[in-house]
Amino acid sequence: MRSDIVRLYKVVHTWTGIVTGLFLFVAFYAGAVTVFEQPLARWAEPPARTAPTAPEAAHELIIRTLATQPDARREFTLHLGGEDEIPARLTWQKSLDDRFPKGAALAPDGGVHVDRLHPTGLAQFVDDLHRTAGLPGDEHLGAALMGVVSAVYVVALVSGVIVLLPSLVKDLFALRLGANLKRLWLDAHNLVGLLSFPFHLVIAVTAVVFGLHEQIYDTLDVAVYEGRLREVMRADSPFTPIKRDQTPAAMLPPEDLVARIAALSPGFRPTTMHYRDPGTLGAAVRVWGTDDRYLMRGEGFVVMSPVTGDIVSTEYLPGHQGAYSVTVAALFALHFASFGGAPVKWGYLALGLAGAFLFYSGNLLWIESRRRTERRAGGPVTQSRSTRWMASLTVGVCLGSVAGVSVAIVASKWLSGWVADLDPWHRGLYYLVFLGSVAWAFRRGAARAGIDLLWLCAAATAAIPLTTVLAWAAPGLGLWAWRDTVGVDLTAVTMALGLAWMARVAARRAVAGPRDSVWSTQAVEAVG
């Protein structure tokens, strides 16, 4: 590799990296959390007020609900999981953005018992944070902006590898634990970056598509499809074979429908059944589920007629898709970790956190390479304003987002039952902690604020398992704890210990490290 090319790409890497690094830190940290968003949401979810109906009685529940609840006749969802895992056996929403669905259970008097459900929305909050990096305002605009950020991030990745190529063999596994701390950070940045390069490349390219797919489709419609893209999409819709027909018709019991899918694909485990126009001749049911043997787009699904029991589309059923659908499903799966079960999910959590480290260390290297040293200047020096500014911003944004997520998780459980809608509280508390942390970092300087905020992160994260312990120890508080989400608590304990360790190391560096560093608390005094 010619040295002028390497020099050129070093500049590309520096600028694309420094512009996107902080957005990507938030997106990666929240993204790592979303890998386990289901257990996390379950951790915060209060016990159901009414016992869900047993699966064997689902057919009876559907018949009684349709007879007595007119607003369930458009669409409803049947949940197939165990009674602990589901909000209710049968739920429906008034519209797609209705966040408080109704849930039905069989009542002893021959009717149904209907409850308004108040899901915490915690998973959705973390997911929104992941997709928009917390950019305020319109969520679609935030996601589109993150699509652009991800595009720049792809260029940062490729340029980073080009820079590393010439010294690859020499530098890759070198982790020089010497006196030169910057060298160590660079080695760690290179090692993590190169080893997880395939992961990052896949995440980055797919993130561009998820952020900008609407804009790309709109452009393709004009540039390629001559304005007929909607027609093409409609023709490919898995629901197209079923024509809408409002003539009343009896539906087969859900267990019959599930049995037909099992005959076709024994490895497919159904999770939910979403009915459209139920009780009519034109009824359709989309059966969602997973099959860990395949790369899936989140979950796969089958479309059936609940009236005839015919399977009308397997184009989204793992193992029964055409070549194009398989390719697209694989790209989804590689982003969402929706393959291979739990081991892959743990791997993605680790890679996501390592990614967050990559962006933090990248910013740190930018700061250190702009640092004025006493050695060169021959005496006490002050760092330039851009260096101090970037150090404060890095500390405030990174640690503020980590602390903010933990605070929102803990608040979700403590405020449950006290406030009707938790969503504004998740967001409000997150932004309060996040913006407060950034302000604190600028006020106190990166060195001091870094220590304070790491302790804040550790404390907020430790509050997750402490809440669980309190729920067990003091039932009078009205809290609750789930046996099956102990993994959430153990993960939080590990994270809190890690953050506390970092706080201690940062505190030691502040007094014992080089005085001319932005991470030193001594230099400030030395200069006054």
Binding site: H213, Y217, A323, T327
Partner: protein, 91 residues
């Protein structure tokens, strides 16, 4: 070999703009020329971002901004001509 000129602005713009144009044209050729199958339109959409960013990543290798614009502009002309032909014969 002559040194590579930096030409940050012109190279970046060439990669971002002409790379995107090229990506749409190639995705369009796929949409018109590849064998039909369910969800082909989705894969066509998925092709755009990787092609765009591949060009945007390597465009700094051009010896100058001018060369980047000429080569990528030429590639766009060829790609859209092929797309036009595909449309013409696919009907």
């Amino acid at each position: 070999m002559a040194a590579i000129r930096q030409d940050w602005l012109s190279k970046s713009l060439a990669g971002a703009v002409l790379g995107l144009g090229l990506a749409f044209a190639v995705a369009g050729v796929f949409a018109w020329a590849a064998p039909d199958g369910p969800n082909k339109y989705q894969l066509a959409m998925w092709l755009v971002a990787p092609l765009w960013l591949a060009v945007a990543s390597v465009c700094f290798l051009f010896r100058s901004g001018m060369r980047a614009w000429l080569w990528l502009g030429g590639a766009n002309v060829v790609a859209y001509a092929v797309l036009h032909l595909c449309r013409h014969f696919a009907r």
